[in-house]
């Protein structure tokens, strides 16, 4: 590899890969400290407009960077992420660092521990730059529900970056971090990755620990990486994945070297194209890009098969019942007693609960708590929550049947390119429909990757969603690499 020298002044326009940066830090040609300072310089320049970072963790970052540089100077082999500047979505805890989940109700909250995903990255040498903006409690598809203001899409700053991990996607797109962590409950990694033109990975449910993730809907919530390219994302997933005694749903299945898996070509892989993802509501420009991406996969030797996933149209109503029911229970903990905001107007315990929640939560969070509480309330449970759980099984079974015949499934990530700020804020249902192609995998628990796949005539990014079966990340990464290579 040629010598790579990165200084605070000379951060390259095109970000280097994790492997290239790590090699440069290992050899000493680039100092991790300079790299971190370089990124903080970029953040200072671009954050006022983009509103990506909510808090910077400079002290912790520079101490870590200095440790990495010292280890490299002594000739020790540094970690897989050593010196790599990363950003953390603000729904993941960092010990002692303000963690708000994009909500006023957690303003000033300093958690007493690190999320497992955060800890694993840091143990691998990553330099944690700071906490990243998102929709309040990860509820949203545009990042406009943050109590700390919306994030702007670096590709077109009049447009949204997607949500809820909009800041995490925008950070990578604007090179304000080499990689970031996001979370995905109904599409919150994949849709913003698509909107910002970066790679976002939804790992299989149970592949990455949720410990330290502020819960929205526990049976759906997942933690995953954003990166500028597929191989980087694959490398990070191998670090994040694995069993954690703090999360009883985390899997003991061995973790693959996903980056090495992604190096394999797609010859002979069977890829399913579900007709239900190409119907009414799909923007013709998005459709054209996805079809051209599919042609590329065929040219690379994959076998393309038409398939049908008949229950797809029921996924949005199912999701908004399951997720809101779980949210209404999870968010009961925000009551002004143990952490976060307490209304100064409280006069007794009951008014403290109600006023703290009324003043601390934003409109979308209240809407979802109300819907979930309604769906779980006496007389409606069977009609709504139980019905949704039954349809969830049908959706999951349908995917498992489909994966008996194909190795991966490809679809558009989002039916539309990134929309303008304010365009959908008055119509919650229209906003929910932005998740129409992503909620299915969330409900089924399978894995997925959004990979850039061309742009519209106006230059807006289009993302292809590559879905794999439960714990089938390896095949999904291979397909995503092939899509990326054809760009």
């Amino acid at each position: 590899m040629s010598e790579i020298r990165v200084t605070a002044e000379k951060l390259v326009e095109k970000p280097l890969t994790i492997a290239e940066l790590r090699a440069a830090v290992q050899s000493g040609t680039t100092k991790a400290v300079d790299l971190a300072e370089g990124y903080y310089g970029r953040i200072q320049a671009h954050n006022p407009l983009l509103n990506v970072y909510l808090a910077l963790t400079k002290e912790r970052a520079l101490e870590q960077a200095a440790r990495v540089d010292a280890a490299a100077a002594k000739g020790e082999t540094i970690g897989a992420m050593a010196g790599i500047p990363v950003g953390i979505k603000d729904v993941l805890t960092m010990d002692g660092t303000v963690t708000t989940a994009g909500s006023k109700i957690l303003g000033g909250y300093r958690p007493p521990y690190d999320a497992t995903s955060v800890k694993r990255l840091e143990a691998a040498g990553a330099v944690l730059l700071g906490k990243i903006n998102c929709d309040e409690f990860a509820m949203g598809s545009s990042n406009e529900n943050s109590a700390y203001g919306p994030v702007r899409n670096p590709v077109d700053t009049e447009r949204v970056p997607g949500g809820s991990s909009g800041g995490s996607a925008a950070a990578v797109a604007a090179n304000l971090a080499v990689a970031t962590l996001g979370t995905d409950t109904g599409g919150s990694i994949r849709q913003p990755a698509s909107f910002c033109g970066v790679v976002g990975v939804l790992p299989t449910y149970g592949r990455v620990s949720r410990y330290g993730l502020i819960a929205y809907a526990s049976s759906l919530d997942r933690v995953g990486p954003f990166a500028a390219n597929v191989r980087d994302a694959a490398e990070i997933l191998s670090i994040l994945a694995g069993h954690d005694p703090h999360d009883a749903t985390s899997s003991r299945l061995p973790v693959a070297d996903y980056a090495a898996e992604s190096d394999k070509d797609v010859k002979g892989l069977k890829i399913g194209i579900p007709e239900e993802y190409f119907g009414e509501g799909l923007d013709p420009e998005v459709q054209a890009q996805i079809e051209s991406g599919i042609d590329g996969l065929r040219a690379a030797g994959a076998e393309i098969k038409k398939i049908s996933l008949k229950h797809t149209r029921y996924a949005i109503p199912t999701y908004y019942l399951v997720a809101t029911a779980e949210a209404s229970a999870n968010l009961a903990r925000f009551d002004g007693v143990r952490f976060g905001y307490r209304s100064p107007k409280s006069t007794n315990l009951s008014s403290m609960y109600k006023l703290s929640r009324e003043e601390g939560f934003g409109a979308e969070v209240k809407r979802r708590i109300l819907l979930g509480t309604y769906a779980l309330s006496a007389g409606y449970y069977e009609a709504y929550y139980k019905k949704a759980q039954q349809v969830r099984r049908l959706l999951a079974n349908e995917f498992m049947d489909a994966f008996a015949g194909v190795d991966a499934i490809v679809t558009p990530t989002s039916p539309i390119p990134p929309f303008k700020l304010g365009e959908k804020t008055d119509d919650p249902l229209a906003m929910y429909l932005a998740d129409i192609y992503t909620v299915t995998a969330s409900l089924a628990g399978i894995c997925g990757i959004s990979v850039p796949c061309g742009t519209t005539a106006a230059g807006l990014p289009v993302g292809m969603q590559v879905l794999g079966p439960h714990f089938g990340e390896a095949a999904a990464f291979r397909v995503a690499r092939a899509v990326e290579a054809a760009q």
């Binding site: 010990d95 002692g96 300093r110 958690p111 007493p112 449910y205 149970g206 049976s219 005694p245 009883a248 749903t249 003991r252 299945l253 149209r313 029921y314 109503p317 199912t318 019942l321 209404s328 009961a332 009551d335 002004g336 007693v337 143990r338 952490f339 976060g340 905001y341 307490r342 409280s346 007794n348 315990l349 008014s351 403290m352 609960y353 109600k354 006023l355 929640r357 009324e358 409109a363 209240k366 809407r367 708590i369 109300l370 819907l371 309604y374 709504y384 019905k387 759980q389 039954q390 349809v391 969830r392 099984r393 049908l394 999951a396 919650p428 249902l429 929910y432 628990g445 439960h470 714990f471």
Partner: protein
């Protein structure tokens, strides 16, 4: 649009959820909930008689997730917990040992 949820029901649900909606907030929530519930109605097109509800995908994956070692319970060993001082630094009101709240029982 059909009205499935009345304003009184919105207020009842808000009470259950410990939310005190502002006067102008309740009608907006009623409108949104009705629009969403009307959309959700389409689930009734599906016959789900006899379909077992799925609460957690781990149920589907029991064979792979638990890898047969039966270790769903951890060993009963004493381990550390989070530091009390660290927890209390984010409490709205504390005496250092306990969380303090407004008076619970009126006399």
């Amino acid at each position: 649009m059909s009205t499935m949820v009345t304003l009184e029901e919105v207020e009842r649900v808000a009470e259950l959820a410990n939310l005190e909606l502002a006067a102008d907030e309740a009608p907006a929530m009623q409108r949104d909930l009705n629009a969403i519930l009307e959309y959700i109605e389409q689930l009734n097109e599906l016959n789900t008689k006899g379909v077992e509800p799925l609460a957690q995908v781990s149920d589907l994956l029991a064979s792979v997730v638990d890898s047969g070692d039966g270790a769903t319970l951890r060993p009963d060993e004493r381990t550390g917990s989070v530091d009390r001082a660290k927890v209390m630094r984010s409490a709205p009101e504390t005496d250092g040992a306990f969380f303090k709240t407004p008076k619970v029982i009126e006399r």
